[in-house]
Subunit: 233 residues, 4 copies
């Protein structure tokens, strides 16, 4: 039996939730789950339909992007996952989708503005949009560089991956993460919903201001930190 | 057996209808049902997934917001429900959701204009949007103050909770109510539908006038008051 | 056994298709089926949920709007149906819904422009929007006058109910009809789809011209008249 | 047994996937599958509901548009399929739908701009929109001329049907193709998704630039050509 049974199961369950939540068409997405002790993650094989996916198909890859176990080719976005796991030691799961509304904001090359408490329940600012990559990055080790485009975006904005568990890459699509793959899936669905709400909000009232600081702080702290009081203790 | 069996069942059924009607993602909503004789209401526990919810999980709370029965922490919005039940003696059920189109109008900080008979079948004016709360209210007893923001909005506009069973809180989301929890759920779905229709109407014809008074009166009275003739006698 | 068994069955089947096709929320719609020989039609009872509806609940009404058989109160829109059957002798079924996109155009008080062949497969011009009713009509015999607002709209535009089987009433919602109730249901779904497409078309290119005459004529005649060649002979 | 069993089965399976993928309302679409050795294709009969469709209903037609086998009348768009098979020898399947967002772009008479990598994974430029047909073409052999409108659009733009497997005809709707009918269905769903994303992108940021060449080339080549590395080897 594989030494990676737990993360294979976790990655499998995260992947098959993506079509159930309406976040992917065909194979337009992938989820991974990391084992920090072993320094590896399990990820969806490339181009396999979700209906055909099996737990044992998950490919085990290390944080340099090298396959450790598995007969199939891992997701074409594997190196992006590897960079994020390597650079951000606190995260345990990653999801990438081309969900419709999140991708539209990425194509529009804009941060998703924080307009309401639905958004502030998850993060205390706009959903960041990493800038369009340079031709050098694109023509080089593209998926690897995509990871660094994300990491550098967070460095430039002085935000941490613990505070903000979702973002979009300009011209591309959303990436989300969390303590495990299940939380990363959850965050993907939340990103899609707040992306749709933000588009509708602007469509109704183009000049509406962003959410004010006191409400951002209140809602974010209802769900995060020592004084949070959402959910069960 | 609990003395509150009836309202627990009523609150449970109202809560599980919310995902069925497409009004909530994950745990973004809550429904409650009041027992006026006993001076309490049953409400969803905080952060529990609708799929995992059981009748006996419902928490019994009094109109001051104090838990009377139940081992779980009640919804984080419990104090808002308590204030509405306390201030508005005619209502028997309350629903709060972050439904997509209703929330977009809340984020746009605008009343939902009355444009057609679908809307006038339910209320004789715009769906009111309570203004953005002050920093003092937000930093104080937030959920309690949210209740008073709603109550004061209705006082300022001279409308009663019997005439208008739905509203939105700016930057936040919809609240609806009714004689019982089932009617409050019904009103949540209606609010979402007329919010979507109003957005589309403006998108097609930005300068269209509001519904004229004679049509508002006609449709509202088809369904309300002594001369109503909609439904079975 | 009822002498009206056939039209009761036909009206019942048409009514339960409306929620299946996503055209109604709750009880926001009604379908009827006429028996021209007997001078009556079967229609949905008012305010009954589609899930609870039974064939024997259908109410039999004559073309003056008087109930002939049935213990329940017929749809509040019954007189509108009666006027259309009385004035338009060729039609055998009528459907009224508050479907989202069709209703948005009605609220926008605009004809739905003919932009493509999807539309021209069904009618050779815009979907007409009857003007807002006068206060006198609204305060008088409202549902009866709604029928005449529709009939007069077609007279004023010199179009016949055989050529154009769908329309919208300003501030209200769509009405469709056909040789039988099933065709009227079909037309309701088509109206909703072309209403959505027309809104999207304008949203993409506000100044796009209407479909040109040669294409309108070609597509309309593919499906209508002696030289039609769509479907099986 | 029919000598065309394989393509009848292939065409049948492609056709019934169209409603499953939400690409057609009622009978608004058709799929075909070609047998290049025999010089024929199997296509849906005209006007038959997808629910009622059977494998043996598929009509066998040659590349001149003449029926070779089958008792039913083939799709009214059969001659368009025949022209494409005749002119483009590399394709093995064709799908035509009136899917909502693709049709809206066709009605807007605009190419669907390439804004992101979702689009570039499939084609290295805008989705072409063939111009409105001339009155002579429309009044002549209309469906045959529609085929040449498509073929000439590709000639004028110097693109091949192997590079670009999807397009829209102005005022009409999408056409897609591929090595077989299943790939043509896949492309129809992709066209609809990127049509929706492009509309949303413009709605969020009207002045956003098209995707830059380096990203187009990178993503297109991830999935196409000798150096592709998407999917399993």
């Amino acid at each position: 039996m594989s030494a990676y049974k737990t993360i294979k199961q976790e990655a499998y369950e995260a992947n098959i939730k993506l079509p159930e939540l309406g976040l992917v068409l065909f194979t337009f997405g992938n989820a991974s789950a990391a084992d920090r002790d072993k320094g590896v993650f399990a990820i969806k094989p490339s181009g396999v339909a979700y209906d055909d996916l099996k737990v044992e198909d998950m490919v085990i890859v290390d944080f340099e992007g090298q396959t450790v176990e598995g007969s199939m080719r891992p997701s074409s976005d594997t190196k992006t996952h590897a960079v994020l796991y390597k650079e951000w030691s606190s995260i345990g799961g990653i999801v990438h989708t081309h969900s419709t509304y999140g991708t539209a904001w990425a194509q529009a090359q804009l941060d998703i503005p924080i307009y309401g408490t639905t958004h502030a329940d998850y993060l205390a600012g706009d959903v960041p949009c990493a800038p369009v990559m340079s031709d050098e990055m694109i023509k080089g080790n593209y998926e690897y560089e995509t990871g660094y485009q994300i990491v550098n975006c967070f460095k430039d904005k002085s935000i941490s991956p613990e505070e903000v568990e979702m973002m979009i890459v300009a011209n591309h699509a959303p990436f989300t993460w969390g303590k495990d793959a299940d939380k990363a899936v959850h965050n993907s669905a939340v990103l899609e919903e707040i992306a749709k709400m933000a588009w509708l909000t602007q469509s109704i009232n183009l000049n509406v201001p962003r959410l004010k600081d006191s409400l951002i702080e209140k809602h974010y702290k209802r769900k995060h930190g020592d004084d949070s009081y959402y959910g069960q203790p």
